[in-house]
Amino acid sequence: MSSASKNPPKGEGQAASASWPRFFKSATAISPPLARKHPDEVGDDLEDSVTGNDYTLNIPDECLACIFHSLSSGNRKRSSLVCRRWPRVEGQSCHRLSLNAQSELASVIPCLFLRFDAVTKLALDRRSVCIGDDALIRLTQVQEPHEIEAPGLQKFSCWSCSFGAKGMNSLLENCGLLEELSVKQLQGITDGAAADSIGPGKAVDSLRVICLKDLDNGQCFGPLIVGAKNLRSLKLFRCSRDWDKMLGVVADRTDGLVEIHLERLQDSDIGSLQSQSVQILKYCICETVGDAEISCIAAKCIALRKLCIMSCPVWDHGIEALAGGCPNLVKVKVKKCRGLTSEGAEIGDADTPLMGDQNRDGNARSASFNRLRCFSGRSLVACTFWRWASFECLYATIIGMFKIVFALFDGYSSPVTCLWRQYLF
């Protein structure tokens, strides 16, 4: 999580940032541009040698910020002590924060968005004792004494934090610009789930992506998922208990939900999920997704463009059904579905211009090779040209094709790979 962050002020500097505002925010108001030191006061030799024009004087803020971006976080923090302008520029250019949500963080929360006032993406993860709901509420609420605007967060993610419904609700209630919410292993949701329902709050219009991972009581996010009006992408990974009802409601939506990823939802009959607007569907390790469900998808998901099935009990029959349905399908990825033979995949190719990636355990290579011959014989690309005039589809198909060729030839001799690259472009 932290690796995704560009500006993670982690570690020791974190606690220190509490006092930042004193040093630079107040400065503009209190002291005139420069409180010049009297020559007698200069004790330091180094400071003595500061002469001539400030090199950075004419450098625009955004240019200076780019220099900071090339520094590691430790160096950047140290640089913030050079003069008043630098922490301001650095803070304004910092859009992503990734923090350890340990309990010490609570003390700096009131000042966090004062020091980093341009943060749109906040990621919290936990090392030891985590900050709780109170802290999250304080973090997200408007901070009167400092006159900070409600944070303009667009992305929020937390991992293994001890927040509960209260904190989450505060986040959603106060961050009206939130577009992406990612929650993994939330510890603070009590078992008596009924009272802990999490609603969309002010983020009702802005929320686009919801990703829930490893939650025991994920159902309390139900009102949020159903309520978010402009939800485009829903990802549920390894969330236990029954999701049927909620997914049923989601499936009934005819609005913009275009992408659904489901992984290891063992207890739910998620095969029943059919939505006319869904364009991307991904099933991973879902025991309840079999031929019947795939047939159902083939018949009902008319907008479906990409389908990925991994480690599901799908047999040839399901893929055949797919070949006959889903008129907009451009890419199909089937991996580790032991029931499937290479014939099943080839039938799919022959009848529709879809891209297959049949990669079974064991004899994956030989299966791949057969499929390639099948590609070359039928000239799949040409077939796609013929079927779709739309450039976008064509592009997606060619890229898909390209990827598959690379994947298949992984391990084969390079002359063959070159041949295929030339053939494609």
Binding site: G13, F23, E47, I67, L81
Partner: protein, 177 residues
């Protein structure tokens, strides 16, 4: 890979590209020095390209924010990158040597010019070089080298040293390498 295959096809057919190579522009620095440069090299600067496209580049292009010395450096860079035979590897090596010999003041002059002229590659290279120089250096070193006078009061300075003691620990010596 795909791009590489495509390039040779378009290389020798574009008459516009040929014209750009032979046409020269004159750039005038803030201190009145004039430099001629081929149009194909000059338009690597987005700002100059825009001027040429808008046809406000009749005769001499004045660059009031760039002094002669800096402009000469920038032109060296542009010429190298517009050179026909130069491979990516060669250019990369050139970039490295180009910035490695520069004094800090010169680096900032070039940053300013590259920013003004919108030459992304050069800007990136110089920024990286500046950041490299700053690596693991003390606050005092940065102030001295960048000629920045601290605008914190002595009291604040004292307090910072106490509160952010980590910033004064484990840094390189202030003596220039």
């Amino acid at each position: 890979m795909a791009r590489k295959n495509r390039n040779p096809v378009g290389k020798n057919v574009d008459p516009e590209a040929q014209k750009k190579k032979t046409r020269t522009l004159t750039l005038k620095s803030s201190d009145g020095q004039e430099f001629s440069i081929s149009e194909s090299a000059a338009v690597l600067s987005i700002a100059i390209e825009n001027m040429v496209e808008d046809d406000c580049a009749g005769g001499v292009i004045p660059l009031p924010l760039v002094d002669g010395g800096t402009l000469a450096r920038v032109i060296t860079y542009l010429n190298k990158h517009a050179e026909d035979g130069a491979s990516d590897e060669e250019k990369r090596k050139f970039d490295e040597e180009f910035v490695s010999g520069m004094e800090m003041g010169v680096l900032f002059d070039v940053v300013l010019a590259a920013n003004y002229l919108d030459i992304r590659g050069l800007l990136r290279e110089v920024r990286r070089r500046i950041a490299d120089r700053m690596k693991n250096k003390s606050v005092e070193w940065v102030r001295k080298t960048f000629h920045i006078e601290s605008d914190f009061t002595p009291e604040e300075e004292e307090q910072m040293k106490k509160e952010f003691a980590w910033a004064w620990e484990g840094v390189d010596s202030d003596v220039d390498d």
